[in-house]
Subunit: 436 residues, 2 copies
């Protein structure tokens, strides 16, 4: 028996012809912070500042490719490690760069930290070639990408601030409908995602129903982030079978999700069962969900996310896209990816309406019209940085004391008994936030 | 509950800037035939002529992209249907073209028929951009790709011909070693694949052992195409545990392969469990094999094969590449793909040494040196057609009476009791061909 070959040593072979010199010259990584409303989820409450990492990749001919990742000191440090390891590679050498990242950090950590570099490499390579990023992902099958309006329960304002923020309190069905109306008026969304896992289950059920009644033609999905017990999820699924488009991660774990899916008619979606790249395999094979929410930030970039999308289609599993608080570079990347995928496509999630006032891209925030984002014309991702806004966001990061996101600690300041245990809530006794 | 969206209507959005006019102008499909030695396998014997389909895709600016597929009237007809349906698409619109193919034929048939068009689109798009096909697949991680020497048992010559062909009879261990020596001398192969499923198991075991003894440093793999019973496969695996690199498709079906893998130390490889794109999911998830042999001709092209390669790596499953009788366009495509994949990479299979004298590419057959093929410098695939050779091969097709491959019928002309039943052979009573 012979050991299998190791990964072959990397090539530094140049691109042919006049493109031989197009390599990564340097990568600049900028941690930033931007104001975020006190949005509620099963893990707690969004803090006053959200963190992101902005990657600028400069090629030898001066092209700048952009990438955007989650924030936090650990991830930023990992991105910086990878940035060092990929310098001087051809800008096309995405796979080699990813292999170097995996060699440094192991594949799972590497995927999260490499993703913004992969996006920046594709952005730079596509610019260099004079095409769009989507053209490197198999080409566009649609010109506009549809997003859902992301409804959150939220506090009236942040804990240390006086009075309500611009959105005000959202804890009742009436307030939820008001929020949906505002988002519909501003952005034209025609489908809704309700982030649950916050209030007593009966109140969230009433919220979903109220939104559906207010917008009877618009699909509504619910996502309690695995807060519900299997029994509670079954009960909700039966109650809302004619109301919700799907339930996302209602309960915890492959077994419970499979059991739920077998027992109810409502489609079941997941992001949490299949976050990592390899974690998609058992979910797709067992068809443990009807819909998978892809996240290129987690699986190692746009190419790997597109690969998973092709497998979702082959397994006849629907597709949507997961979102964290993000800015315009990520929205552009998500739009290129979503424009490239085929199969049973659902509208995609985005936090963008909550954060776009503090974007760092030039020319103002990305427009959302009729709930859709136009595929940028390119070349590359089709977005560029506003350096003043980037400097401002970086300064905001430096002068803050937030270095890792901690929704739970923030929630405990108001609800000391906050308990983040997943898969725990029964119908009778549930909710970490009271609605009044 | 809401129905999921259908596949969005196709965009015919142009590439940006000066590339707006780069579209598919026409696709010319040429069925060809070329002489093939009487190589033996579990399905019978290779007929005197092997069939392939050559795709020439011309873009609006006159670039020619090439693709190569299996032959046969049914497949050729399906490729022609797809060719009609993708005309005028941007040459970058691989996913849209594949979706149209699936709409016409259903996904499984579409994948086989679309593959040569996908390769031709990537070839043309890469030429248009001035890069190599591998650069559209995530970039090269190696400059040369290693292939194994493909050892076949064979008849002395074809049934209607007098005397031996240039290779002569290969049915004994001594003849097998002579064949390996010839292939080593000509091409420098440093690993072997033995196609089994032909002779009594004990003789094939002796053959593998003889090759290993003659070339003690070179890995040897065996592939009886699911001819062996589970018990026979267990026995062979134990007997050859220090001899073979892996056993490919020793027995039939996911259950038997999983049971075998659990019972023996020898790595188990498969092509037949995971031929179709979606069939890879259960194999990767259950880790039903240690090595998967990808085939871009079957899974719908190079992009889909590269997606599967990434998943194999994530599942820590080794990679090799499957081959049928093929010519230089397919060899170039396989080389670009194999240059792009990471993970536990094994040498790849190729029939090319058996067929390269009748290739249709310009400049003579692709060189195999030290068992390796250099990644073509591009642009595109890096191969072009010799139109005289193509015309000759097409004429050979037209004047022959072979329209679908039928190894079994050909075998029955010599061995009337030939029985193609898979998974049937015990150690004691096996082999459809006698060795003498």
């Amino acid at each position: 028996m012979h050991p299998t070959e190791p990964i072959a040593s990397s090539t530094t072979r140049a691109l042919p012809g006049g493109r031989a010199s197009e390599r990564i010259r340097r990568i600049v990584l900028t941690p930033i912070a931007f104001p975020d409303p006190p949005l509620l989820n099963s893990a707690g409450a969004h803090e006053p500042l959200a963190l992101r990492s902005i990657v600028e990749l400069e090629t030898t001919s001066g092209i700048i490719g952009l990438g955007e990742a989650h924030g936090g000191e650990r991830l930023t440090g990992e991105i910086a490690l990878i940035a060092d390891a990929v310098r001087d590679l051809p800008v096309s050498a995405v796979t080699e760069a990813g292999a170097r990242a995996a060699g440094l950090l192991g594949r799972e950590r590497a995927d999260r930290a490499f993703a913004p570099i992969e996006v920046a490499m594709l952005d730079a390579f596509a610019q260099h070639l004079g095409v769009r990023v989507v053209d490197l992902l198999g080409g566009a099958v649609r010109d506009r990408v549809e997003f859902s309006g992301y409804l959150f329960y939220k506090w009236t304002g942040h804990l240390d601030e006086d009075g309500p923020d611009e959105w005000g309190e959202v804890t009742t069905p009436r307030q939820l409908v008001q929020l949906a109306t505002t988002l519909h008026d501003r952005f034209g969304f025609r489908s809704w995602k309700l982030k649950g896992g916050v209030l007593p289950i009966a109140e969230e059920v009433a919220g979903a129903r109220a939104v559906r009644e207010a917008f009877p033609d618009f699909p509504v999905r619910m996502d309690p982030n695995c807060r519900w017990s299997l029994e509670a999820a079954q009960e909700v699924a039966r109650t809302l079978r004619d109301v919700v488009e799907y339930l996302e991660d209602p309960c915890l774990g492959l077994d419970a999700m499979s059991a739920l899916r077998a027992a109810v008619d409502v489609p079941i979606a997941t992001n949490m069962l299949a976050e990592r790249f390899d974690a998609h395999l058992p979910v797709l094979t067992a068809r443990a969900a009807d819909v998978v929410l892809l996240d290129h930030h987690v699986v190692g970039g746009l190419r790997r996310a597109a690969a998973l999308a092709a497998l979702c289609e082959a397994a006849d599993i629907g597709l949507s896209m997961h979102s964290n608080s993000h800015l315009g570079i990520s929205l552009a990347a998500m739009t290129h990816l979503a424009a490239a995928v085929t199969g049973r496509v659902h509208t995609n999630d985005t936090h963008y309406p909550w954060n776009q006032d503090f974007d760092v891209i030039a020319g103002g925030p990305v427009s959302i019209v009729d709930g859709t984002v136009a595929l940028p014309a390119g070349p590359g991702l089709g977005v560029t940085l506003d350096r003043d806004l980037l400097a401002e966001a970086h300064e905001r990061y430096l002068s803050s004391d937030i270095r890792e996101r901690d929704d739970g600690a923030y929630a405990r300041r108001r609800v000391p008994e906050f308990d983040p245990t997943l898969g725990a809530w029964t119908i009778e006794q549930s909710g970490w936030m009271a609605s009044t």
